[in-house]
Amino acid sequence: MLMSGCYSIQVASSQDFSNCRLAAEEDRIPAGHMLVQNEGWFLFDKLPIVCGNANTESWFPWTFFSDEVSMDYVQKAIVRRAKVRGERIVQMNAINHNQTLITLPGTQGFSVPYIICHHKTQISVVFLKAAEPAELPVIVDEVADVEDVAEMDEIADMEEVTYMEVAE
């Protein structure tokens, strides 16, 4: 457990944030700020030993011998949220941090590079709220007179008859 990787998602939002605007995105309102990160341990810098499980629906928090620290996996949660909520993703920044000089217990402070390595990938984004649907022109129905309603019913009846005749 001490040596394991960890996949974490943090989302922040507030009313003040929603009152802000992002530069060059004047027409959209920020919906939230998200930081997703995953880390894992690798043998010889290439072979994944244990990583955080990017599948958030799984009950098990780790995966073995599968590189889930890659950008594709870390980005999953971001894309999923944007798709579900119809939000736009802007200001996406990614940071990869690899630690190759790890001092293992019993080596008396001496560390050999690239034996056991720790990789960490982080992506932070800002979500913009879905665009409001374009306003449709509102048709205001005037209150029809009783006589008009009767006339409309008559016309409707006539049209039905006409259609029936055509069908026959």
Binding site: L2, M3, S14, L22, A23, A24, H33, P105
Partner: protein, 128 residues
């Protein structure tokens, strides 16, 4: 003397939430219709045991005051964003640019004691 050493070591290990503001834009204009007002970096530091148990974390209510809270995890993106919004409101800026967050961590004896820090930075802008 021992008490002073203890206090100093406690201070050195304490968590702290800080915000740093840079106002030196030197007349460089931003992209689009906004101009740079300032750059902000919010940092919250915490010390953990076994990477999970919070020992000392920065106090969001005491930013830049070397104020810590014990056994409570305050290293959240929400606390950083709230502090950023407080600064934006104080400075009268409602346009953000280049916003990003990341975490740094280092540890002693693998994960026995580890130090984590959450960073959030953004440029605050205003209309020209």
């Amino acid at each position: 003397m021992k008490k002073l050493a203890f206090a100093l070591s406690l201070m050195a290990f304490a968590g702290c939430m800080t915000s740093e503001i840079s106002r030196t834009t030197n007349g460089v204009e931003g992209d689009g219709p906004e101009s740079h007002l300032l750059t902000v970096e919010v940092e919250n530091v915490g010390w953990y045991m076994f990477d999970y148990i919070p020992l000392l974390c920065g106090d969001p209510q005491g930013v830049n005051k070397v104020s810590s809270v014990m056994f409570k995890n305050t290293l959240t993106l929400q606390n950083n964003l709230d502090e950023l919004m407080r600064i934006a409101q104080r400075e009268g800026s409602y346009t953000l640019g280049s916003m990003m967050s990341y975490e740094t961590s280092e540890s002693v004896w693998v994960f026995f004691v580890s130090r984590h820090a959450y960073h959030t930075s953004a440029t605050l802008m205003r209309k020209r």
